[in-house]
Symmetry: C2
Subunit: 207 residues, 2 copies
Amino acid sequence: YDVLRENNKIAHENYHLLKEHNIRSIDFMGSIGAGKTALIIKLAEKLRAKGLRVCAIAGDVTGDDDFTRMEVSGLDAVNCNTEHECHLDANIIKKTLSKIDLDKYDILFIENVGNLVCPADFPLGTDYRVVVISTTEGDDMVRKHHDIFTHSDIAILNKIDIASAVDVDPEIIANDYNKLTGGLKNIYKCSVKKDEGINEILAALKL
Amino acid sequence: YDVLRENNKIAHENYHLLKEHNIRSIDFMGSIGAGKTALIIKLAEKLRAKGLRVCAIAGDVTGDDDFTRMEVSGLDAVNCNTEHECHLDANIIKKTLSKIDLDKYDILFIENVGNLVCPADFPLGTDYRVVVISTTEGDDMVRKHHDIFTHSDIAILNKIDIASAVDVDPEIIANDYNKLTGGLKNIYKCSVKKDEGINEILAALKL
Ligand SMILES: Nc1nc2c(ncn2[C@@H]2O[C@H](COP(=O)(O)OP(=O)(O)OP(=O)(O)O)[C@@H](O)[C@H]2O)c(=O)[nH]1
Ligand SMILES: Nc1nc2c(ncn2[C@@H]2O[C@H](COP(=O)(O)OP(=O)(O)OP(=O)(O)O)[C@@H](O)[C@H]2O)c(=O)[nH]1
Ligand SMILES: [Mg+2]
Ligand SMILES: [Mg+2]
Ligand SMILES: [Zn+2]
Ligand SMILES: [Zn+2]
């Protein structure tokens, strides 16, 4: 499938470009409304407090809601609209990277379009690929979306503070994840709202 | 774009097939985990109580979670896996319809794959297209996904029972919807869990 091969070639170029500038990069994929933006803002706050320089690319189909939230929080950000695609690809990231002064940053966060299907097939060239889901989507997210969890490095289960309000047991999701990944990868439970489990995520991403 | 034209042609065939069998049909699109399955099960229960015969097609990328939940609830269902696509299309629905004895039913519910982007471009041939979102995804769903809300008939905002837990004001979402649709379409607030707002949805779908 040429589209995917072409994407991987450009992803490889992005990877080398980021390495030349000593930037550690993370692609945050995940379901619509799982808390990707909230998590990125929270992680960036903690990293800036440690003296690290962080930049983010806010991917979305349309609009600049996430970009604005990032900027308002004090996080340097660039808006990136796909207009039609339901996933970011390496080419749109290559173009977006050309707008950023990479020497000014240590860490790059990319927020992908909310979707648990297509982003799995389009690596962007980052060091880590993370999938963010939340309890409020139900306990079947892992069972229904094998590809994206096998094509990523870690998973994050957010909104554990309100799991009982949707009758969801986080352990069911964790067990499904361990079964699918053979126990080789970890899923991190957190609540961005309550600031719980965030430091474990920073450690897992070696930040 | 040939794919879309081909899809619309088959959708038209599906529409006529369903009309020949006097079946009213609804395509439930929406975000991942918004409550599409829970809503379909609840609507079917109320319709069966009125003596109507209901069947459902459970669309998903993989697995049979939703299909099983429907069957366990007493709703006749057929499982429909796309394997890779992040949306159902008219062709897969045509094939699935051939497995159903259409003379046995009055109403057909189709649950689409959870995704607020691509399903907008792929009508299936149903009478109504509905978009289900929920408060727990945040208050920006309408602002970020114009196409799917303009290519559908009504919208449903579920999980209003826990809006405050995610700091979301349902009125913001309703205002965005009214602005986008020029007040010509309605968004229905509901809580499937608390059985609130369900009868208004039945009325809106003329069921
Ligand atoms: N209760 C609770 N709500 C949360 C938490 N994290 C995020 N939220 C809420 O969940 C909603 C969605 O959060 P976002 O950060 O916009 O999620 P997102 O994944 O970036 O959403 P999209 O970019 O639109 O796909 C917002 O209303 C947040 O306030 C959490 O840990 N607990
Ligand atoms: N509090 C609350 N939880 C709800 C409501 N409706 C659904 N839920 C919960 O939300 C989660 C997702 O519901 P589902 O019916 O699986 O949603 P879905 O849209 O069919 O999900 P996918 O098919 O996986 O995209 C489940 O844990 C439900 O219990 C509601 O009105 N209020
Ligand atoms: Mg976001
Ligand atoms: Mg479902
Ligand atoms: Zn897709
Ligand atoms: Zn798609």
